[in-house]
Amino acid sequence: MIRLKNLTKIYGGTTAVDNVSMEVGAGEVCVLLGPSGCGKTTTMKMINRLIEPSGGRIFIDGKDVTEVNPVELRRSIGYVIQQIGLFPNKTVEDNICVVPDMLGHDRKASRRRAAELLEMVNLEPAAYAKRYPKELSGGQQQRVGVIRALAADPPVLLMDEPFGAIDPINREVIQDEFMKLQAAMKKTVIFVSHDIDEAVKMASRIAIFRSGRLVQYDTPDNLLAHPIDSFVADFVGQDRTLKRLRLIAVREAMTPNPPSVAADDSVETAISRMESHGHASVVMVGPHGKVLGFVRLEALRGKRGKVGEHYEKLTSVVRSDDNLRNAVSQMFSNDQSWLACVDADGLYEGYITQRGITHLLGATYRDK
């Protein structure tokens, strides 16, 4: 979708961007990551020709951008900046419709679209469409900034540290909202960031820049697991394996088809089931498979009667579509070495153990 070929920008004697070649597939979020002055922003701004390249070429959908009139080019590419830049003299709605209005789209239709977009970022159109930017909080303004870039439905979106100035709590929320929008709209996104956590969260691929050069271009998990050199390793952080936890779904580390017992099973059945699986405990489920609690082998020894008379409550369970970071966090806070995994309806699907997680994370290192 977007292809950079030997892209170079020289200012006076300094090379800001040095022979960068890369390709971003349609619908991907490519995060350009690096310390300040590494050339990531310059690279991005050459794509919509806010900065003219000194050398190399840029293709969008196979078309060389230097052959397109820059004004028309920019209208076909969404653009979001850190300082937001909403026009204070225009209402929220008119801000969103700036590009559609310039393109001569039907005013009513674009206002309707603006209302839909406002709803998608949880801003009630009736309350916000006619307000002015200064009446909105920073987080709300940047939500408008993002949907303004989407209003004319451009296939490509350029985002220059869009959430960098938002407070950390709001940043998480707005990132999640953007990911939801992106899942629905499948734009090809070039996203400049200096925050590795943000990059890991948003990116399909991360491009690490250092002094104008593209050092490594890889999927977040590969980047964290196999940094190409010490610079990348330092940049992604010593805790990079922990960061990978966020990228992996609980399901991947889960042991499926687990043994379970029901409330009216006898204690003997439970004991023999645990012994045959070599487990120290087993989950008790209801008639439809809902997780109700668990019993421990140690506690059942010498007891009689039904499992339902002896079970203990589970302090926590984890959704199998959640990420491992949240799962591990729950394990640590509850001092548990394993967690029961449930699906969206609370049905028992499997379990994860700390050993299983470390084994999974280690697999990528053993392969090499």
Binding site: N48, L50, V71, E72, L73, R74, R75, S76, Y79, I81, Q83, I84, G85, L86, F87, P88, N89, K90, T91, V98, V99, M102, Y132, P133, K134, G145, R148, A149, L158
Partner: protein, 217 residues
């Protein structure tokens, strides 16, 4: 009391002179807006040009008005307009340039660079940026410059009586030459009142023309 009686007795003359005064200032400032605002916008493109133009406009301000009127006499005499309305208006146009150019320039330069960046990034042409964003945002400050120019010109236009351009200065110059405090005070008060009314009127206009999103709540 005597002054009041004089004023009441000469009411129609005060209005006529007042109208001359307004016409001088009104025509001069209107033309000055048409020249000063574009100049103020143009010089935002070049630091050197901005420095020179603002310096030049500031020098004009230092010329004593009576001398300026005098300087225009030989220039305009060949077309038979050495004294009177035309040189007065021309001088006032020059005096208006500094506040209008300076405020326009400052207003445009002070616009948040993020607005320009966003506007450019979304594909606005330079003209669209000016019309849709920069001028609306700069307007309150520009009108402030116009207010300054108007008040300044109402004072300067008082001197225009000495080159036969009329206006409320007539009462003042006659009051001085005839040692008649009634005329002197009438003229001075009339000029002050006119300046205050014009200033308030433009303040109202400034508020009205300030985009709703930029108004102080």
């Amino acid at each position: 009391m005597e002054t009041l009686n004089f004023a009441i007795a000469n009411w129609s003359q005060i209005l006529a002179r007042g109208w001359e005064h307004i016409s001088l200032v009104g025509v001069a400032v209107s033309i000055a807006v048409l020249t000063g605002v574009p100049i103020g916008i143009l010089i935002t493109q070049s630091r050197v040009a901005a420095d020179r133009v603002l310096y030049g406009a500031a020098i004009i301000m230092t010329i004593p008005s009576i001398a300026f009127f005098g300087l225009l006499i030989p220039v305009l005499s060949p077309i038979g307009q050495g004294i009177g309305y035309l040189p007065a208006v021309i001088a006032l146009i020059f005096y208006s340039q500094l506040p209008i150019i300076r405020n326009t320039y400052a207003a445009i330069m002070n616009i948040d660079p993020a607005l320009r960046e966003a506007a450019r990034g979304m594909g606005m042409t330079a003209f669209q940026r000016l019309r849709e964003v920069e001028l609306p945002v700069a307007l309150p400050v520009i009108i402030n410059g116009v207010r300054n120019a108007v008040v300044l010109n109402i004072a300067i236009a008082t001197i225009a009586t000495y080159i036969g351009a009329g206006g409320l200065g007539v009462f003042i110059s006659r009051g001085i030459s005839q040692t008649d405090p009634r005329q002197l005070i009438t003229g001075a008060v009339a000029v002050s009142v006119l300046a205050i009314i014009a200033d308030l009127g433009l303040l109202l206009l400034q508020r009205r023309l300030t985009p709703v999103g930029l108004r102080q709540s």
